[in-house]
């Protein structure tokens, strides 16, 4: 009997809760030891624009969900990933991982998502403050999400990286546009299917595959992106300079940071949040109120 011809899946990109092909019509093949694994979209600047627009549109709704609700949705992502372990294992192995390393990466990813899911309704209890001002005001500081966050993943740990950059950013209410691993994009694009099946509203997470060299400058210079989380170690100063135009907040992560257990920390969440302080008068016959 002749060997069955494999179906080479085209992994599509993920924008606004849908799985379109790249508008550019460009594709590349990922290979392992010279054998083609799958067809991958080579996303364009226009895809990036669409993704940012979707993320912006989703921001108000997502950031206004209750923290409890976001926490549950993130936990749901971990549940969905747990049940689809075998597909991720197969894809990682297909992309050159050993069985053991692939398994470790998957478990670490699931556990990390659960860790961060729990922070949704705790981050402001730890990092917010009530400030004892010397006037008759109730004054408090809370952290808020920054808005649309652009994320560039690493190449070393494609599944762990995609989860590690997305989850800490969206747990607080940000929406994200992610540039996936270029050499091993399968995990990221299958992770999009998990997101899509986990009650995450459309547009909260958008994932593009393609050339980091081509796409990174577009996300750094996009005027409607509020912050960048760069896990790639690839971005040069010239590209980073373009982020100054709208004073994006930039957080660069070292390659080893993701694999480190210390990554499980609320400070990563805080990196993509902004402190807002509110003043409210207190009616009082006693407090001494200054004129200004």
């Amino acid at each position: 009997m002749s060997e069955r011809i494999k179906v080479l899946k085209t992994y599509k990109i993920f924008i606004d809760g849908k799985f379109p092909r790249t508008e550019s019509g460009r594709y590349y093949q990922t290979k392992n030891n010279g054998i083609p694994i799958a067809n991958i979209c080579m996303s364009s600047r226009k895809d990036m624009k669409n993704a940012v627009a979707a993320a912006r549109k989703a921001f108000l709704g997502w950031s206004n969900r209750t923290a409890y609700n976001r926490s549950q949705i993130l936990y749901r992502i971990a549940e969905m990933l747990e049940t689809r372990k075998s597909q991720f294992l197969e894809e990682l192995v297909l992309q050159g991982w050993t069985n053991k390393n692939a398994e470790l990466e998957i478990y670490k990813t699931i556990d990390r998502i659960i860790y961060f899911a729990g922070w949704a309704d705790k981050i402001n209890q730890v990092f917010g403050s009530v400030n004892p001002v010397a006037t008759s005001h109730f004054n408090f500081t809370m952290l808020e999400p920054m808005g649309v966050v652009g994320l560039i993943t690493n190449e070393e740990t494609p599944l762990l990286a995609i989860a590690s950059c997305i989850i800490p950013a969206i747990v607080s209410g940000n929406t994200v546009v992610v540039i996936a691993s270029e050499k091993a994009p399968l995990s990221a694009l299958t992770f999009a299917e998990v997101i899509s099946n986990s009650d995450v509203p459309p547009g909260v997470v958008n994932i593009l595959s393609g050339s980091k060299k081509e796409l990174s400058p577009h996300i750094y210079s996009h005027m409607d992106v509020n912050a960048i989380g760069d896990f790639s170690n690839l971005t040069n100063d010239e590209i980073k300079l373009t982020a100054v135009e709208n004073l994006k907040r930039i957080r660069s992560f070292g390659a080893s940071e993701i694999s480190n257990d210390n990554f499980d920390s609320p400070y990563v969440i805080k990196d993509f949040m902004e402190a807002k302080t509110t003043w409210h008068p207190i009616e009082s016959g006693f407090a001494n109120s200054n004129s200004y």
Binding site: S129, N131, P132, V133, A134, T135, H137, N139, T141, M146, N226, D237, K240, L241, V244, E245, N246, L247, R249, Y267, E274, A275, K276, T277, T278, W279, H280, P281, N290, S291, Y292
Partner: protein, 489 residues
């Protein structure tokens, strides 16, 4: 509606006798050197510039202009002080030095207030009641943090950074110096600070206070000069962190010059804040708040409420009340305790403000200004408001940094939020309504770092201050203000 009510004519026959603050108690030198390594040094650049009183254009003193050799010396002295003294000192002792500075500011409050008003043009009432007390309070607050940092950042082993470069603006000269120096010292760093060239004097008086407090030489260095001096600080290789307060355009150029270096930064930049008045607000109180929001310190306030959004149903009566209130403001000698509106800080700032007023008129907005006598000498701009302003008008978009209010109307809450957030800035906003649930609906949706509900332009050392978006990054004040001066593990 009672649109026929006669406005109160406060300004009519109610002439107040002048109540001038005395100046005989102040101690100013004709010439100031650079405060480096605990002493005042002649600048190696050999250059001086004059600082003038903007209310009469008289020269007050000559101020040294620091060149590159001077900055090298200042940074070296800060680095030596950091390595040999300040970073090794027990935090409890560091704390006591900062408390000393706070106390000395309180003791010299009157002198500092008068000098602030002479040099910067702001009304003595403001420098006396706001600038100087807040400067002292800032040192007092952060002094107490010095030996408690582990509680602010549990499990992070907070460590000082080294030499920090600080560049401050001319609108709150002493207060901004306090906002910068106090947290930097509490966290164990040493400082090279540059005040703005038009308002160096209170920073130099602070240098004298620092001498009297016996702070180890080099821990704080105060170098004077203009933008070129600031650039030398920004680009110096031994400066580990830049703290800048000023315009968004200069902030961006600083960010560009430190991109690719390991220098940390905090940026407190411009703003175009919306002050939103709903029809259920206590209107007279809101009028006071709007006036305070935009005319406080001649509008030279990065968080000034320079856009007024009034709900359409009360627009007519509110504008009338606002105009009446503006007409009661007193513009004149900043040293007079009756003065509400002092002098504009400099000729160049007055030119900028007047340029925007012309733009506003040419765009078709309707102008109203305080009708008053403008002194013959000095730089003055009467409180100004524009009605019939649309979102696309330049005066509704760009920061003017003067006493100019752009007024727009809205019908629904959503429209108010959309208009308020429709700006690249995000420093502050104000909301006026009697309804608590509406307050918190609004304050949670406005994209700004500081939101005042039924109040405006309030500051406190315990209260974090800083912007979203193009208004900068990082916070000053409160526990959150410590982080920018620390390395966390």
């Amino acid at each position: 509606m009672n649109s026929n009510i006669q406005p109160l004519e406060f300004n009519g026959d109610w002439n107040l006798s002048p109540s001038l603050e005395s100046t005989d108690h102040i101690d100013l030198k004709d010439k100031y050197g650079l405060f480096i390594n605990g002493g005042f040094l002649e600048p190696l650049s050999n250059k001086y510039f004059s600082t003038i009183n903007p209310s009469n254009e008289n020269q007050i003193s000559l101020i040294a202009e620091a060149g590159s050799e001077d900055i090298n010396l200042a940074v070296k002295s800060a680095k030596d002080a950091y390595e040999n003294v300040w970073s090794k000192m027990p935090a409890k002792e560091r704390s006591k030095y900062i408390y000393r500075i706070a106390r000395l500011i309180q003791e010299k409050a009157k002198e500092l207030a008068v000098i602030e008003t002479l040099d910067g043009g702001k009304p003595i009432r403001e420098s006396r009641d706001v600038d100087v007390p807040l400067a002292a309070a800032h040192f007092f607050y952060y002094a107490g943090w010095a030996d408690k940092l582990d509680y602010a950042f549990p499990n992070r082993n907070p460590k000082s950074i080294g030499v920090v470069g600080q560049i401050i603006p001319w609108n709150f000269p002493l207060m901004m110096a306090a906002w910068k120096i106090a947290p930097a010292l509490a966290t164990g760093n040493t400082v090279v600070l540059k005040p703005a060239e038009s308002t160096s004097l209170t920073a130099l008086k602070l240098a004298e206070i620092i001498q009297q407090a016996d702070l180890p030489p080099g821990v704080v260095n105060i170098v004077t000069g203009a933008g070129s001096t600031g650039k030398l600080i920004v680009n110096h290789k031994d400066i580990k962190k830049i703290a800048f307060t000023g315009s968004t355009s200069v902030g961006k150029s600083i960010m560009k010059s430190i991109a690719g270096t390991s220098k940390k930064s905090t940026m407190e930049l411009g703003g175009k804040a919306a002050n939103i008045v709903f029809d259920d607000a206590p209107l007279d109180q809101a009028v006071e708040g709007v006036v305070n929001g935009i005319y406080f310190n001649q509008g030279h306030v990065c968080c000034a409420g320079s856009r007024l959004l009034v709900q359409e149903s009360i627009n007519e009566i509110f504008i009338r009340k606002l105009r009446d209130r503006i007409q009661s403001l007193i513009l004149g000698n900043p040293l007079d305790k009756n003065t509400d509106i002092g002098a504009v800080n400099s000729k160049s700032q007055l030119d900028t403000i007047n340029k925007y007023i012309d733009i506003g008129k040419n765009e078709g907005a309707e102008i109203f200004q305080l009708n008053c006598t403008i002194p013959d000498k000095g730089f003055w701009c009467p409180p100004t408001l524009f009605t019939n302003v649309s979102q696309s008008h330049v005066i509704a978009q760009e920061e003017i940094f003067g006493p100019v209010l752009a007024i727009q109307t809205f019908r629904t809450i959503d429209e108010a939020i959309t208009k308020a957030n429709n700006t690249p800035y995000g420093l502050s906003a104000g909301v006026w309504t009697d309804k608590g649930s509406k307050v918190f609906n609004l304050t949670s949706k406005l994209n700004a770092g500081v939101i005042w509900a039924n109040t405006y332009n309030k500051f406190d050392p315990t209260s974090p201050f800083g912007g979203y978006k193009e208004s900068g990054h990082g916070r000053e004040g409160g526990l959150h203000g410590l982080e920018a001066y620390l390395n966390l593990e």
